[in-house]
C-alpha cells in the first residue's frame, strides 16, 4: 500500500518536473523554430511548424560577420573569468581559513554591490570609460565583467573552501606530509572541483551579460549579446533573423553547458543539499 502511494508520488513529481522544464525550455525552442521560418511566417502568428529554411542564418552571416563578435565573447568571458579567479581564490582562501571578526561584514559588503541596479552607475562608468579610452575595447569590457562578477565568484569559492575541514590539514601534518605535500596532494584535489564549477558558471554569466556589453561597445569589441541587439533596431523588426542571430549566439555556451552539466549542477546545488 505504502509502496503504491510512493510510486504515484514519484509519477506526480516526475510529471511536474517535466512541465516546469518544458515551460522554461519553450521560449528557447520557439526561438529555434522561428529562426527556421521565413519572415512573413514569423510575424503571422504562433505556429510550431517552420518551413525549415536556413536562409535567415545565411542572411545574418552576410549582413554582419558572426565570427568577430563570437571571438570577442570568447576572449571577454574567458579573460574576465580568469582574472576574477586570480583575485578571488586568494581572497576566498584567506576568508575561509583565517576568518576574522569582520569577514562576514566584508562578504556582505561585496554582495551589496550586486544589489544596486546597474543603471545607477551607467553615466559615471560611461564617462570613466570615455576619458580613459576604454570605450569599445575588449580590455574595457573584460575589466567590467571581471568586476561585476567578482562578488559572486568570491562567494562561491568561499562556500567551497569552507567545506574543506581545517582538520584534514592537521591530519596530514600528523601523517608527516610536508607543506608542499599538503598543498599538492590534499588541498588542491579538494579545491579543484569547486574552482572548476565556479569557473564554468562565471563563463556563462559573462557570456550572457548584456547590459554593460551593449552600452560600452560598438563595433570593435562587441560580443554576441551586442550582436543580437544590433538585429533588433536598425531596419525594423525582423523576427526570424533576430531568432537566427540569437540561436547562433547561445549555441556555443549551450554546447559547453551540455558537456559540463555534471560539474555545473554540482556547483549550483553545493551547500544547499546535504
Amino acid at each position: 500500500m505504502a509502496r503504491a502511494v510512493s510510486t504515484r508520488r514519484k509519477w506526480i513529481a516526475t510529471a511536474a518536473a517535466w512541465v516546469v522544464a518544458l515551460v522554461i525550455f519553450f521560449p528557447i525552442f520557439y526561438m529555434v523554430v522561428t529562426s527556421l521560418k521565413t519572415e512573413p511566417e514569423a510575424i503571422a502568428g504562433i505556429s510550431l511548424i517552420p518551413s525549415g529554411t536556413f536562409e535567415n542564418y545565411v542572411e545574418v552571416q552576410t549582413q554582419r560577420d558572426y565570427f568577430k563578435p563570437f571571438l570577442n565573447s570568447v576572449i571577454i568571458s574567458l579573460g574576465s573569468t580568469l582574472i576574477a579567479l586570480l583575485i578571488a581564490i586568494p581572497a576566498a582562501w584567506s576568508m575561509a581559513f583565517s576568518p576574522t571578526r569582520r569577514t562576514k561584514d566584508i562578504l556582505m559588503w561585496m554582495l551589496s554591490t550586486k544589489m544596486m541596479p546597474a543603471v545607477g552607475v551607467l553615466v559615471p562608468m560611461f564617462l570613466i570609460f570615455r576619458d580613459t579610452g576604454l570605450l569599445d575595447t575588449r580590455i574595457g569590457l573584460t575589466v567590467v565583467l571581471t568586476l561585476i562578477n567578482l562578488p559572486i565568484v568570491v562567494w562561491m569559492l568561499y562556500t567551497y573552501f569552507r567545506e574543506i575541514p581545517g582538520e584534514i590539514l592537521e591530519a596530514a601534518r600528523m601523517d608527516g606530509a610536508t607543506l608542499m605535500g599538503e598543498i599538492v596532494y590534499v588541498l588542491t584535489p579538494m579545491a579543484v572541483p569547486g574552482i572548476a564549477s565556479t569557473m564554468l558558471l562565471n563563463i556563462i554569466l559573462a557570456w550572457n551579460e548584456a547590459f554593460w556589453s551593449i552600452r560600452l561597445s560598438a563595433a570593435n569589441a562587441a560580443p554576441l549579446t551586442a550582436f543580437i541587439a544590433s538585429f533588433s533596431s536598425p531596419q525594423g523588426l525582423f523576427w526570424a533573423k533576430l531568432s537566427a542571430a540569437s540561436t547562433l549566439a547561445i549555441a556555443p555556451i549551450l554546447i559547453m553547458g551540455w558537456f559540463s552539466q555534471r560539474q555545473l549542477v554540482r556547483g549550483l546545488t553545493f551547500g544547499a543539499v546535504k
Binding site: 575541514p165 582538520e167 584534514i168 591530519a171 600528523m174 601523517d175 608527516g176 606530509a177 579538494m190
Partner: protein, 99 residues
C-alpha cells in the same frame, strides 16, 4: 615504549589561559580519558601532546625524550579527529599510505 609525561605544561591564547600548569604522567598501555565541559581545554591538551599547538611554557616528554618543539609527525603518535578528517578524494589504500 609509550610513556607520555607533561611537566608544567601551560597554554594561553593571548590573555586567555586555557591550560594552567599541568603535570601528567601516562604510562605505557594505560587508558586515559579527559572529561569536562566544552571549552575547558580537552582538545587543546590533546593537540598540545600531538604537536598541533605549541605550548606557552612547560615540557612534553615522550619516552623520556623532549618533544616540546618537535613536528607532529616526528612524535610517533596517532590521532583521530572529530570530523574523521579522512582524505575523501583518495582510495582506502592511499588514505593509509599517505604521505
Amino acid at each position: 615504549m609509550g610513556n607520555i609525561t607533561l611537566k608544567n605544561v601551560h597554554k594561553a591564547f593571548g590573555a586567555t589561559v586555557i591550560i594552567p600548569d599541568i603535570d601528567l604522567e601516562i604510562s605505557d598501555g594505560e587508558f586515559v580519558v579527559f572529561v569536562g565541559p566544552s571549552g575547558c581545554g580537552k582538545s587543546t591538551l590533546l593537540r598540545l601532546i600531538a604537536g598541533l599547538e605549541d605550548t606557552t611554557s612547560g615540557t612534553i616528554l615522550i619516552d623520556g625524550a623532549d618533544m616540546t618543539g618537535e613536528a607532529p609527525a616526528k612524535r610517533g603518535l596517532a590521532m583521530v579527529f572529530q570530523s574523521y578528517a579522512l582524505y575523501p578524494h583518495m582510495s582506502v589504500y592511499n588514505n593509509i599510505a599517505f604521505p
